[in-house]
């Protein structure tokens, strides 16, 4: 991917992570980022109740997960893995980066449920954006991320174990499929996004 990366310190990120970051970040190649996930236009709803689309992240690298809150087995591990990534990142990066979660479960994961979940899991609301949306929006997201999922008769979902890193232009830079012993590799990929030499 021909993305000439300039490190542009982003200041003044509003506390509400979903506030539209209207400024445009130009890269050195002038590429138009044809693979950018910002092209997904269907809106999600955040825990706060506000609308969210990926293009709200313009200029900010982010990690994306698909999950659902009533998941008892794998999702807590997935979220825990991302929290481990979070714990290994320097403060400066934590000021910028976003962790964006998308629920498979529009029936049960209302904004209220997401809010309660974020509190229970101690997810910093300045950085973690939990979202819910109707099924076609979920399906579209799963297809661009390459996440498979299937509702079970119990109301639970089978789904892929997948963490996706997007750069500040919304282009996928790294995906981790399956549970790994250590998150160090993923952390390295995240750090690369903030490396001024890129």
């Amino acid at each position: 991917m021909a993305i000439g990366f300039l490190f542009i310190p982003i200041s003044g990120i509003p506390q509400d992570p979903a506030d539209h970051l209207r400024h445009t970040v130009l890269d050195t190649t002038g590429s138009t980022h044809k693979d950018s996930l910002y092209q997904l236009e269907k809106p999600w709803r955040q825990a706060s109740g506000k609308a969210f689309t990926l293009s709200d992240l313009k200029g900010v690298p982010a990690v994306l997960l698909m999950f659902y809150t009533s998941c008892e087995y794998v999702c807590p591990l997935l979220v825990a893995d991302l929290k481990e990534v979070e714990s290994r990142l320097p403060k400066k990066i934590l000021k910028t980066i976003k962790f964006v979660l998308f629920s498979f479960d529009p029936k049960r994961d209302t904004p209220e449920t997401l809010t309660a979940y974020a509190r229970k899991m101690k997810l910093d609301p300045s950085r973690w954006i939990l979202n819910t949306a109707p099924e076609p929006t979920v399906r579209e997201m799963s297809l661009v991320l390459g996440v498979k999922y299937k509702p079970e008769s119990t109301g639970n979902f089978s789904h892929s174990y997948m963490m996706t890193l997007i750069d500040k232009n919304g282009v996928i830079q790294h995906q981790q499929i399956g549970k790994k012993q250590s998150q160090q590799d993923f952390v390295t990929h995240v750090l690369n996004q903030f490396n001024p030499e890129r």
Binding site: Q39, S142, Y149, H159
Partner: protein, 241 residues
């Protein structure tokens, strides 16, 4: 469109070994009688420039998208009424949305496709199954099979011409890799592939399952087309915006 009565679709795989035969209740729905043709798709592309092959985003369609068309808005005349192929899931979904329809779910498609000419549920009819397999066995040349097959619902060529996209094709979790695809029943490990299957005779269903699980949403393949469906009641949860 043709009305397909509601019915029970029995998924190819059980969720777990202990489970009884899984059943999915499928409400009645309307289904396009034929797969969307090149001519019909041209109309869509004409009015939606973002879906022209020179302009489509690589996020939504791979480079083979409409690669058999001679230009953005042209194809060989004799292909006009053949099913459009080389279309991605996103393109198919966008087309159906434009028509105020949607892609059929896997359950809906399989339910409709289990009808023979004379019976709505022919999945246990050996002659019907053998015929489907004979279609699959034929190499898919450039020219699709042109002998029409009209089933019980008066729907044409669900088998015999091209494969078709379904809305939730990515619900087939086949890796059996419990860390990659979570909550998976372990009966899908290599070698145990058919252990939790519900119908061992229906080899065609296995082929469709395998084919679907190999797809990605942006794929545009020579023998993969689509048709749309519509709810009988406009309040189907999956059709809600």
């Amino acid at each position: 469109m043709s009305l397909v009565d509601g019915g029970i679709y029995i998924p190819l795989y059980k969720e777990s070994k202990k489970e009884d035969l899984p059943k999915i209740q499928v409400p009645a729905f309307w289904m396009d009688q034929s797969a969307v043709t090149q001519r019909q798709f041209l109309h869509f592309v004409r009015t939606h420039p973002a879906w022209r092959k020179s302009q489509v985003s690589p996020l939504f369609a791979e480079s083979t998208y409409l690669s058999h068309w001679t230009g953005d808005l042209s194809f060989r005349k004799r292909d006009a009424d053949r099913p459009v192929t080389f279309v991605s899931w996103f393109a198919a979904q966008a087309y159906c949305e434009w028509k105020q329809k949607r892609l059929p779910t896997l359950s809906e498609w399989e339910l409709a496709a289990s009808a023979s000419e004379t019976h709505p549920a022919a999945a246990d009819d050996p002659a019907f199954i053998a015929r489907i397999l004979a279609w699959y066995a034929k190499p898919s040349g450039e020219e699709p099979n042109t002998v029409p097959f009209r089933n019980y619902w008066h729907i044409y060529d669900l088998h015999g011409r091209v494969w078709e996209w379904v809305y939730d094709f990515n619900s087939a979790l086949v890796t059996g890799e419990s860390r990659a695809d979570s909550d998976l029943d372990r009966t899908q490990f290599c070698g145990g592939g058919a252990a939790s299957a519900t119908d061992f005779k229906n080899y065609g269903a296995f082929m469709r399952f395998a084919f679907r699980s190999s797809l990605e949403g942006k794929y545009a393949l020579a023998n993969l087309g689509f048709r749309c469906v519509k709810d009988v009641q406009p309040t189907h949860p999956e059709a809600k915006k």
